[in-house]
């Protein structure tokens, strides 16, 4: 991909296969979020690039912030995509209630976003993304603002929700956290800091969802180190020091 009139991105060739989990890793400004929005069709496709989608692919997007409607309760927030698609109200509410229950917030249907903790609001956001049963789920640093305990719980939940679905959705998520990338994804693509070129691709060992204690496993640690080294290469020396 290249962008006329601004610093070029890419080239980035990315093929997302059904049901796989991919991490886009890179420093700030590497074009991770832009790439993700391109995948979602939320940005103009650059002149020298293309995004091809299998026809009928449904896409959902989770932003870094929960991005909820403050004036609506959790249930109404989750049912939004269905409401917009013209799904009958009763059915939309029932499916939204099920999606909320799936993320562990079945008892919080009437809560307003401001009454929810950061982790809970993110779960509502995740439920909203999953309620349409998408084939492709895009997440833009969804856990960056959460504390580490909440973050780990949410990652486990995401794996569980992914594994429960049949067929499984493909997930592409953006992160600058190498541990998160190796733990959550099956493969990680490293984007160079200034150009956004894909300079490395590493596959993550082990199976999903992760077994208990996987973070202590030598294979996991080795993969984290390898990805960290690749990420360090992606940054210019000044960036790495900063």
């Amino acid at each position: 991909m290249g962008f006329p009139g601004r610093s070029p991105l890419g080239p980035l060739d990315l093929i997302v296969r059904p049901g796989e989990i991919i991490a886009l890793v890179g420093a700030s400004g590497a074009g991770k979020s832009t790439s993700l929005r391109l995948l979602a069709g939320l940005e103009q496709t650059p002149a020298s690039g293309a995004v091809a989608r299998t026809p009928g692919t449904t896409t959902s997007f989770v932003f870094q912030a929960p991005t909820l409607m403050n004036w609506a309760d959790a249930l109404a927030n989750v049912s939004l995509p269905l409401d917009l698609a013209g799904v009958p109200r009763a059915e939309a509410r029932a499916r939204a209630a099920a999606a909320l229950a799936a993320v562990g917030l079945g008892d919080r249907q009437t809560a307003r976003p401001r009454q929810l903790s950061g982790g809970m609001a993110m779960r509502v956001s995740l439920a909203r993304a999953l309620v349409t049963e998408p084939d492709l789920l895009l997440l833009d640093e969804p856990f960056a603002a959460l504390d580490s305990v909440t973050r780990r719980r949410l990652i486990e939940d995401l794996h569980r929700l992914w594994a429960e679905r049949s067929p499984r959705p493909a997930i592409v998520f953006v992160t600058h956290d190498v541990e998160e990338a190796v733990y959550l994804a099956q493969r990680a693509v490293v984007l160079e800091a200034t150009t956004g070129r894909a300079i490395a691709e590493l596959s993550s060992p082990g199976t999903l969802p992760r077994p208990e204690g996987w973070r202590g496993d030598a294979r996991y640690r080795a993969a984290v180190e390898a990805l960290a080294a690749a990420l360090a290469c992606s940054m210019s020396p000044e960036d790495a020091e900063g």
Partner: protein, 250 residues
């Protein structure tokens, strides 16, 4: 009540000081009557003042409704098309910075001298227009850009986007505009009444002019007090509405 106590105390203190000064300095009542005399005027002239206040309030209210419909409607139309905003905004600003006193004689001619009340409503609406136009427009554009993207992603129609996203996001801004506009519409009504000042309108401003011509200063101050109470009541009413909406949204 506790919140109001300090300001009530200060008011009482100021009134007491005023009363004492008037009595001690033997000021002539036509120059500065003591608060007690204003109080007497308020009671004695209550029926007339009330009907005049009702007239002014009714004109200001009509103006507020007109300004809300026109300003809100225009903001809604403009929010759908950025080019029209660039076309309309300078004109709206021009209307805002033109002193209402200066256009009042013109509007009075257009409305016809027999329909001074219509001119008053039109002028008050012109004054109240800008905060409503600006508030609604700012509010409609205040929605979280990521939520806008989400509505893009899920293929929302422009009506869905307006009803489910932009209007709810705009509500606090609209109410803020309404609060400012409510105060301005009273000011506009009074100024317009002054200019048309022939007794064709029987509002509080006319009471002020009339009492002034006869040098009945206590009556003037009584009418002024009525205007002040009306402004406070209006502000309080819209503020309460704002608070209720905020609580519902929070």
């Amino acid at each position: 009540m506790n919140r109001l106590l300090p300001s009530l105390l200060l008011t009482a203190l100021l009134l007491a000081g005023w009363e004492i000064a008037c009595r001690g300095l033997h000021l002539p009542v036509y120059l500065l009557p003591p608060p007690s005399a204003v109080g007497v005027a308020l009671v004695e002239r209550a029926p007339l003042l009330l009907s005049s206040a009702a007239a002014t309030f009714w004109m200001a209210f009509q103006a507020l409704v007109v300004a809300f419909v026109l300003g809100g409607g225009l903001a809604l139309a403009v929010s759908l098309n950025p080019t029209t905003e660039r076309a309309v905004r300078p004109l709206a600003v021009a209307l805002q910075v033109t002193p209402v006193v200066a256009i009042a004689p013109l509007v009075l001619i257009w409305a016809g001298l027999d329909h001074a009340d219509r001119a008053v409503v039109a002028l008050a609406a012109a004054v109240a227009f800008f905060p409503l136009f600006s508030g609604v427009l700012t509010g409609l554009k205040s929605a979280d850009p990521d939520l806008e993207r989400l509505f893009d992603l899920y293929g929302a129609s422009s009506v869905q986007r307006l009803v489910r996203l932009r209007l709810p996001a705009a509500l606090p801004f609209i109410l803020e505009g309404l609060r400012v506009a409510a105060g301005l519409s009273v000011i506009g009504a009074v100024v317009a009444e002054f200019v048309s000042g022939s007794g064709a309108t029987q509002g509080l401003a006319w009471r002020l002019l009339e009492a002034g011509n006869r040098l009945r200063t206590a009556d003037m101050l009584a009418a002024l007090a009525c205007l002040m109470f009306m402004g406070l009541a209006l502000n309080g009413a819209v503020g309460a509405l704002e608070g209720a909406v905020r609580r519902r949204l929070a």
